[in-house]
Structures are given as C-alpha cells and as structure tokens.
Subunit: 344 residues, 3 copies
Amino acid sequence: MRFHSAADLAARFGLELSGNGLIEITGVAPLDRAGAGDLSFLSNGKYAGQLETTKAGVVVMRQADSGRLPAGATALFAKDPYSAFARISALFEPVAAFDAGIHPSAVVDPTAVIDPGAMIGPQVVIGARATVAAGARIGAQCYIGDDCHVGEDCELQARVTLWLRVRLGKRVRILPGAVLGAAGFGLAMDQGAWINVPQLGGVVIGDDCEIGANTTIDRGAMGDTVLGNDVRLDNQIQIAHNVQIGDHTAMAGCSAVAGSAVIGRYCLIGGNAGILGHLTVADRVTVTSKSLVTHSIREPGEYSSGTPLMENREWRKNAARFKQLDALARRLGQLVRSSGASGD
Amino acid sequence: MRFHSAADLAARFGLELSGNGLIEITGVAPLDRAGAGDLSFLSNGKYAGQLETTKAGVVVMRQADSGRLPAGATALFAKDPYSAFARISALFEPVAAFDAGIHPSAVVDPTAVIDPGAMIGPQVVIGARATVAAGARIGAQCYIGDDCHVGEDCELQARVTLWLRVRLGKRVRILPGAVLGAAGFGLAMDQGAWINVPQLGGVVIGDDCEIGANTTIDRGAMGDTVLGNDVRLDNQIQIAHNVQIGDHTAMAGCSAVAGSAVIGRYCLIGGNAGILGHLTVADRVTVTSKSLVTHSIREPGEYSSGTPLMENREWRKNAARFKQLDALARRLGQLVRSSGASGD
Amino acid sequence: MRFHSAADLAARFGLELSGNGLIEITGVAPLDRAGAGDLSFLSNGKYAGQLETTKAGVVVMRQADSGRLPAGATALFAKDPYSAFARISALFEPVAAFDAGIHPSAVVDPTAVIDPGAMIGPQVVIGARATVAAGARIGAQCYIGDDCHVGEDCELQARVTLWLRVRLGKRVRILPGAVLGAAGFGLAMDQGAWINVPQLGGVVIGDDCEIGANTTIDRGAMGDTVLGNDVRLDNQIQIAHNVQIGDHTAMAGCSAVAGSAVIGRYCLIGGNAGILGHLTVADRVTVTSKSLVTHSIREPGEYSSGTPLMENREWRKNAARFKQLDALARRLGQLVRSSGASGD
C-alpha cells in the first residue's frame, strides 16, 4: 500500500497545508464516502455542506471555502482543487508493467519497423510499412495496419484497430475497441447502384489525444481526417472522413461529426450531440447533449436544440400541437392585426 | 431434428392442452408464417385475427382468447403466452459444445486463476490476478484484464474485453465487442490543457445480467460502476463511470447514461434515449426512444421528449416557429390581457 | 507512382476531353487543394467559382458548366461528374496483396469448409460448419462463427465478428469491429425477472453490401434479419432482429432500426436517425439526421423531426414554452372564438 503524508503532498504539489501535516493518506474518495485515510476534494460549492460531516483525512479545496471547514480538520488549499486532486490521485493508480519487446504470439510484417523500446503485446498483428516508436505500448489483440505510425509513448489498449494510413502523435491513448482509419462513407449513385468513392487519405492524430472505447475515426477521401493536440474523445464517438478537430476540444460519449466539418479549439461537445457535414464551428463553442448542429457556428457560446422531458401524456398533447405551430402562429398574427394591437 | 408432442409440452411446462395432443412440433414460427410442424403464439390481441388463417400446428395463447380459435385447432393455454412460448422455444435452440479447459493458443498470465471447469477459447488473453470460475465460457479472442473476475457459468462470446477491475456475478452473458472497465471520461483543465482524472474504481455486474454487442461500461473514478441483478443491456449502449443501475432494468440499443446517474429497478429505457449525469431515476420509469432525461425523475411513469415526425417541408415551417415560441406566447398573453378575456 | 494521361482517361472511361490530352495525372484532390498533377471534379454548381482559381491539371465536370472553365484549362466532360470521378479515383487506390491460403496462426474448426482460393488472415477463428467461398478475404483477428457463410469475393477487414448463422452474398465488404449475428434483444418478463426469448433465426446479407466499422446487425428471433443487395451501412449503426432493408438503401453513421421494421429500396437514412420497431418505410424515403420515425411512412419523400439549433439562452425560453404549447393553443382558440374571427 502506498501512503503519503499531508505535508509531503503539500510540498510535492505546491499546495498550502492547513491542519495536521502528519496525517497519512492511502487512497481517495468523495467527501460523503471518504474515511480517515482518504484524500477528498471540494470543487463545486454546492457540496460545501459535506465538509461538516466528511470523515476524509485531508480535503483539497479553495482557501476561500475554508470557513466551512470544521475546526481541527486538515486541508490542502489549491487554486483549482479539481486539477490538484487529479494530480495527487494519480499517485494511487497502479502502473502496469512495461516490458519492451515483441510477444512471441504477435504477427509482424517484415517491412514494419518496431523500435526496440516499444512493447508489442500478445496476438497483435502489424502490417506492411507500419512503424512503432520508442515507449509505445501496443496492447493485446491490437491491429496496426499498413502504413500506420504509432508515436512515442502512445498507449493502445486491447483490441484497438488502426486500419490504414493512421499517424499518431506522441502520448496518444486509445481505449479498447476503437477503430481508426476505416474507409469514410463515400458513395456515388451510378446507373441505379452505389459505387464507392475511394478513400485515399488517412487519419492524423496530434500529441496527447485520447480516443474512447469503440469510437471510430474514418480516414479522409482526399486529404486526411485531422485531430489537433490534446483532443479528448469519449466512447462510441463517430468522426467521419475529412473532419478537423482543434486542439483541446473534448467530446462526450456517442457524439458524432459528419464529413468535412471543421471544429474549433477548446470546444465542448455534449453526449450524443451531432454536427452535420461541411460546417464550421468556432473556438470555445459548447453544444449541449443530444443537440444537432445544423448550421455553422461563428461565435463562442452555448448552443442547444431539442425539447424538455415531460410526462408522456402531457408530452403527447404538446407534441401534437408542434405540428400545428405554423398554423397557430399565423392565426395569432391575424388576430393581432384584426384587434389592432401592435404586438411587439 | 428435435420434436415434441403437444401433450408432452403441456405436461412439461404446466400448460392446459386444447385439441390434439399427438401433434408433433419441430420448430417455432410467427402465426403468419408457421407450418404444420410449428409452434406459434398469440400474446397481443391485435393479432388474434391471424388465428383464423394460421397453419401453425400448435398455438400458445390465453384461454380467454380461445373463442377466436378455429374448430379442430390445437392450443396450449398459458397465463402469459409470451414467456411460455419463450421457454418452449428454448428447446429448439442448438446448444454449443462446452469443453472445459484452456485452448493452446490462449495466453494466460501465470498469476491468473482459471477453474478447471471453465472453458477458455482460442486466442484469449488473460491478465494478472484475473480469476475465472467454474462453468464460465470465455469465447474466442476475448481479453480478460488485470484484477478481473468472471463468475460461475458466465458466457463471454467472441472479442469481449474486460479491461481492468471488472467483477462479473453468475450467469452473466456478454455479446461480442463489448468493452467493460475502460477508463471513465474524467478530465480536469489545467493551465489550458486537459489532465486525466485517474479512474481508480472498477465495474461490478450482478447475477444474470446481459450486455449487448459493442456496448461499453466504464469503470468508476472513485468507487465502482454498478449494475444490479438481471439488468439487460442491448447493443451499443454507453454506461459512464459511477453509474448505478437497479435490478431488472432493461435498456434498448444505443441508449446512454452519463456519469454518476442512479437508475432504479424495473426501468425500461428506450432506444437511443439519454440520461444526463448525477441524476436519479425512480423505479419503474419508462423513457421513450430518443428522449433525453435532463432532470431527476421521482415518480414511476412514462417520460418523453422530442417532436413528431413530419414531412420535411411542413416540419421546416413548424420548426422555424419553434424559434419564435417565447415571442408568440408573450404576444398571445398581451392579446389576452388587452381583450379582457380571462384565459385559463 | 501511377500516372495516366488525360486522353487515356477520356478513352478508358468514355468521357469527352476538352483541352490538353497529354497532361499526366498522378493523384486526385479537391479543387481548392489540387496541384498540376491532380485530377479534381466539379459536381455541385455551388463550387463552380473554384474553377477560376484551381490549379488542378484536369477537372471532371458537366459540359454545361464549361463556360466557367478558364481558357486553356483541361477538362473531362461527364454526365455525372461525381461517379466518373469515383471510378477514375480508384486507379490511385493501392491494392492490398491477396495471397490465398490459411495463415498458420488461424484456428479453423475441422468441419469448416474453406475454398482454396480464399485468404484467411492471422489469428482468425472459424467455427463449426462455416464456409468461405473463393476470392473471400478474411482479415486479421476475425471471428466466423458456427453455421456462417462468406460468399465469393467478400472482404472482412480486421476484427469482424460473424457470431452465428450469418450468410453473406458476394462482394460484401465489412469494416473493422462490426458484429453480425449476435442475439436479438428479445425478453419476456416472467415472475418478476427477465427470461431470454431464444433468437433462432440468422442474418442474410445480399450481394455488394457494405457494413461500417463497429456496426451491429442482430440475428432474427424467428426467421432472419435481411439486407437486400447493395445496401450501404456506415459506422456504428444498430440493426435489430428481423429488420428487413431493401436494395440500394444507404444509412449514415449512428442510425438505428428497431426490431421487425421493414425499410424500402433506395432509402436514405440520415446520421443518428432512428426507426421504431414493426414499422414499414416505403421506397425512396429520406429521413434527415437525428429524426425519429414513429409511424409507418407510405409515400416517398423527405421526413424530419426535432427542433432547430439555438443559442442556449434563447433555446431555454422557447423550450420552456413547448411545455405550455397545448395550453397556448387552447387559449388562442378561445380568443379566436370570443373575437368572432374566423381563424382559418
């Protein structure tokens, strides 16, 4: 078991200690479930009331909230308690062994180049002309296809597929089941049947990106599909061909971006939100969950579509009226005119 | 070919026979496609008219509907025809061979503990300290990660991933491509870049759960993501970190639950429905397809959001008016006031 | 490097050459990024302005647009420039090697029948009574389950699962991570717990279909789930048990069809659209992105649901009014009646 004293943590992470520096921390927990050996945090003022009842040994919090701290309690003051907590919390994360080398069950094309400082797990398959840089970890049952490149210190967990012409920057982490570099969905109708439009581009992923479980990122038709640096994608996201996503943008689970859309930096895309093709989304745009972006967004801000949740019987009545909305508005207009009222 | 007489089925499943007990059944089919050797069922009264034309040898149905049964037809009367049919139908399901033991192509960590009564398929990879109980079947190309536990009589079909700290109860069935135990999507912004919040918890799945193909269930940040007993998840569902789902709740395909939401027992979540994070949903709540749950639900019942499907041109007119809805309502209010009408 | 002169391309694809037939083409690019060695195309008149500035060596376009072509530029005239471009573009697609035979790391059931002209990749697992026809390519780490059939010239890319009773026609292409033939989501409630309704059918896929990455197609409960010929499914689509999809229908990413729905020919289903179970959709129906089809559609045309995207604060005001919509409509009706106006 790892343990760290409150004083040590204060020194190591540059935080201000209030209380007993000798308290030893062996894990982390939320305020309402923490015990004497746990570190907890208060970031959202809404939970400040929990300070009075928490059994946490040490709480990471803003000094401004210290008035809520019971007498005798121990705290570490941070400007941003959540990120400070995240950094401390990493001390308690078990680190999996890293043994460089190629597992004997892996099948590696003779033209692939694997750095001796990379780790290739069991039952991995690596294709022609692929390269894997030093410090990269390719987990069990991954597939690294032709002309793919895995940068330094990347981590591909189990069953990740880089199908074709995927280039990863450094420190990219990809969760199980993700598929990068599959053909974009490009079709042309020809004499009553579909023909495929060849998808000749690739996928380029910047440094420090994270790709969630079972997420898919298609390769470009002409040119590449591009993620900048520090882009964070949750699970089951679909990124179509030739999409571009700016640095530090984060997308929540089940969201999707259609072909050739360009998304700015520092955007936050909510769960199951969608962005139509060939649109542009400015920097620092937030799209709320399940909204559909149907036109380009030029200004930072928060955007939404959809209707509120209601008890089903009430919803049915209102939804039926939605079908009459234009007629209702026209009727109201007539009434306003006939009444001589000015409206607004 | 398996066959069973109507009389045998009546005795075996405790149903009342009406008609010819000697009829032999060799398969199952819906009323409108069944032949003389088929068993069929009538559960929804809407289809009672099909009784007159069906060629089914035997029909499982409610005795109350027997008036619709043509003279000379054979039926098995059940209180709940659909579940009775399901039980009988299982007689016609081929059972795959179960040969306990570890396939020679599997790669098993020396610290893993595999019960001799478990079956480990080809090209399976099993990590450190993992345990697999008796009667469990681990299908081809599965990955069982570090510190995972597979309970008695579980069935993991092909290409299932338990990434880290996943504990399955008994008789859990997981369909191909599902990923359990990947890191929850926990991020903190720190000096303009994202840092990961370590996901130190695991996933705990109760007895008799079913997890659909390509569904993802993330492990908890602090504490576990928890499914109770007999929870049924369809394909491509996303369950975020620290979600809790109560016993007997069923979720249809492509639905999603955001972090730390707590869902009750016996809930029915429709296809592509979403539930936002940190909400509570009471027992016996139904959410209709594609609805978004944006606030906690305290009462059982059926809940919905969205608008009705319309021909696109009509929809455009009405959707444009949605953007004026608040203005329209204000104008209407003014008009009501200026007319001296009481409104309601 | 492959290269082709404009005159050769004109002859090979039956197009009319305008300009310099000696220009050599070594690749393809969009008008705004093409260089002197690139072929480009103009299909959508909206982009005709780019003709004046493009550096493309040759442009595939309609003769009707030739007035926009700068003097001295070279073009290939086609009735349908996009499909002509797609066909030419295929000349520049690298063709992966096809070496018939079974990789030594594959595990093939002794009762399976593999045509000597098929290619079975590394770490593939093939189950009992499965058959693979000549010219079929089974990529790395695929799983071909019991009683599955892969037709001539099919291409299963990496990590595709055909779980049980899946029959593919000819030239079917399946992208990584797709799962066909998993159990449909059939449940019956029995004394307070769920029991599975056995899924005794299979999946039948016609010729020339394409199935996207991580898409799932469940097998039928009684009878099969059926895709016609030339059906095109993008990534992360969910097709439930007993669905039928007509020839040439294309569905965009993250769309979903619930059980037993019947979809016609030449339909276009937008991204993340949903179709409820047991519905019928006519031929040549377009459903826009994120719409939910809640009733059968009898007529060709375009159909939609949802509300427009708005800045969040505006959206909140209007969304709140949606909850009052029925009340507002009633109040308006009263006002119309009390004013003696005829309305419409």
